[in-house]
């Protein structure tokens, strides 16, 4: 496992798609932060939580980088070599997951760093408690891990690499739109005057989706900093990661690798 991880990390840092995604994850939050800085008055105080703004695009970037990274393993036949070297398929899959999640975590850290590089000198150091910031980042890391597990599963199920990339990006985009829509529905429901106390089945479905979908969790963190259902969200994420990884390992074990 250690050998696979060390090879995986060295391959990750050489991967052009990963480097490009890191650059985008630096440039985009910097731009969004600069816009926020120019929109607020100079004495308006620190921009707490601004470092999360760039995260809205991370799902798409994970979709691109993970699928290209995994397809490289198949096209260069490194996968066959790993199997011939005696590594079990479960270990290979888990090593790929750990490496890609680490890559996604680096993108998340890059987002925080890039935003803070503009926000802190312009508006001063954040005033929110450090523990709250860590909790927010932990929830966002769970979201990032769900996206990574999903893309890894898709790349395992689909043999054609071009199709795997296309389906991964589409799946991430659909989850992104669904998450935004569910978040929007929940917010509008809360803002509605004299909201009825009766809880319908539709409300329950929307509420569950709000807690389950990674993108709505991300929006909840951005707006509420620490959502009321944070613990539930983390549990759902952990369950989703476990189910998708287990399914991926089972499919990968049965896959005919040429």
């Amino acid at each position: 496992m250690i050998n696979l991880l060390s090879v995986g990390y060295s391959k990750l840092f050489k991967n052009l798609a990963f480097r490009v995604c890191l650059i985008i994850m630096a440039a985009l939050p910097m731009f969004l932060t600069a816009v926020s800085v120019s929109k607020t008055a100079p004495g308006s105080g620190p921009l707490n939580g601004i470092y999360n703004t760039g995260m809205i695009f991370i799902g798409l970037l994970i979709g691109a980088f993970v699928s290209v990274y995994i397809s490289q393993d198949h096209s260069e036949k490194t996968l066959n070599n790993k199997i011939m070297a005696g590594y079990s398929r479960a270990v290979i899959y888990l090593a790929d997951f750990i490496v890609t999640v680490s890559g996604a975590l680096m993108m998340q850290l890059m987002c925080i760093l890039a935003s803070s590089l503009i926000a802190v000198p312009a508006r001063g150091m954040y005033t929110e408690p450090f523990a709250d910031a860590v909790k927010q980042q932990f929830i966002l890391f769970c979201v990032v891990a769900v996206y990574t597990a999903l893309v890894l599963l898709i790349c395992t199920v689909i043999n054609s690499k071009a199709h795997a990339v296309a389906v991964s990006l589409m799946a991430v985009m659909v989850m992104l739109i669904a998450g935004i829509s569910v978040y929007d529905m929940t917010v509008r429901k809360g803002e509605a005057p004299a909201a009825s106390t009766e809880v319908t089945t539709e409300d329950k479905v929307v509420k569950t989706l709000y807690n389950v979908l990674p993108q709505s969790q991300m929006y909840a963190v951005m707006e509420e900093h620490i959502p009321a259902d944070a613990a539930k969200m983390i549990c759902y994420d952990a369950a989703a990661i476990a189910v998708m990884t287990a399914a991926g390992i089972v499919i990968f074990k049965k896959k005919d690798i040429k």
Binding site: V35, L60, S67, A162, V165, L169
Partner: protein, 248 residues
């Protein structure tokens, strides 16, 4: 050239993904045009036809997925090499490829137009519809020249798919951000940003759609010229790079 185009076109018509896309283009446009009034994010609505312009974003979105999936087989199966061995020039291959994906886009546009015209309760004058469709076709061709350039010059099929789909996503976010930045700048900078938005094919979609601010709209002739400039530049540059490419 004619043989190449015929070969591409007949292969293209066998693509289930394209057929599904055409059916979806019709269904989504029809639904959007007849139910668009419920969407409160749209403005500057003069007729139901304006709702269909928002749904027209589906054409470049679909092409950004279809083009790499359709053209990735060229390098994978060594088809391009075989065409060169048969005596076809690289210029012929480039143009036949561009023409075939343009034909796919025209089929999508026809499905979109059918959905829009059947779904709309009220329509603008025929001249307005014709101009709008002409502008749409031109900015979509401009986008296709970029997609074909990438598809024929990058050999890694997974990377091509990722780059082309992400190019659509990012140009979409970029034009929305540029529109947001416009609200914070002066008149001079506004004109430059409006030109930049309209130079991006997805930006021209935005300026036509009911999601746009009036400030980003340029006259039809300027939009057509910008599309023509982008098409010419991308074809010339793409052909130059493709001619120098080492094809194995």
């Amino acid at each position: 050239m004619k043989n190449l185009f015929n070969a591409y076109f007949s292969r293209m018509l066998r693509q289930k993904f394209l057929l599904a896309g055409i059916v979806l283009a019709f269904a989504i446009t029809y639904w959007f045009t007849s139910n668009g009034s419920g969407l409160n994010i749209l403005h500057r609505i003069n007729s139901d036809f304006d709702f269909s312009l928002a749904a027209a974003l589906g054409i470049p979105a679909f092409m950004s997925l279809f083009t790499p999936l359709f053209l990735s087989a060229e390098y994978k199966g060594g088809t391009i090499r075989n065409k060169l061995i048969c005596g076809k020039s690289r210029g012929e291959i480039y143009f036949a490829t561009l023409l075939s994906v343009t034909a796919a886009m025209l089929l999508m546009t026809a499905a979109w137009a059918a959905g829009a015209l059947l779904g709309a309760g009220t329509l603008p004058a025929a001249g307005v519809i014709a101009w709008t469709i002409a502008k749409m076709i031109l900015y979509n061709i401009a986008y296709l020249t970029i997609l074909v350039f990438i598809s024929l010059n990058v050999t890694n099929e997974a990377a091509v798919t990722a780059i082309e789909f992400m190019s659509f996503q990012f140009s979409f976010f970029a034009v929305l951000m540029l529109q947001m930045v416009m609200g914070m700048t002066g008149d001079g900078a506004c004109k430059v940003i409006a030109m930049m938005i309209n130079l991006i094919p997805v930006g021209q979609w935005l300026s036509l759609s009911p999601l746009a601010d009036e400030s980003i709209q340029l006259s039809s002739s300027v939009q057509l010229i910008l599309s023509a400039v982008l098409i010419t530049a991308m074809i010339v540059y793409g052909m130059t790079v493709f001619r120098k490419k080492d094809i194995k």
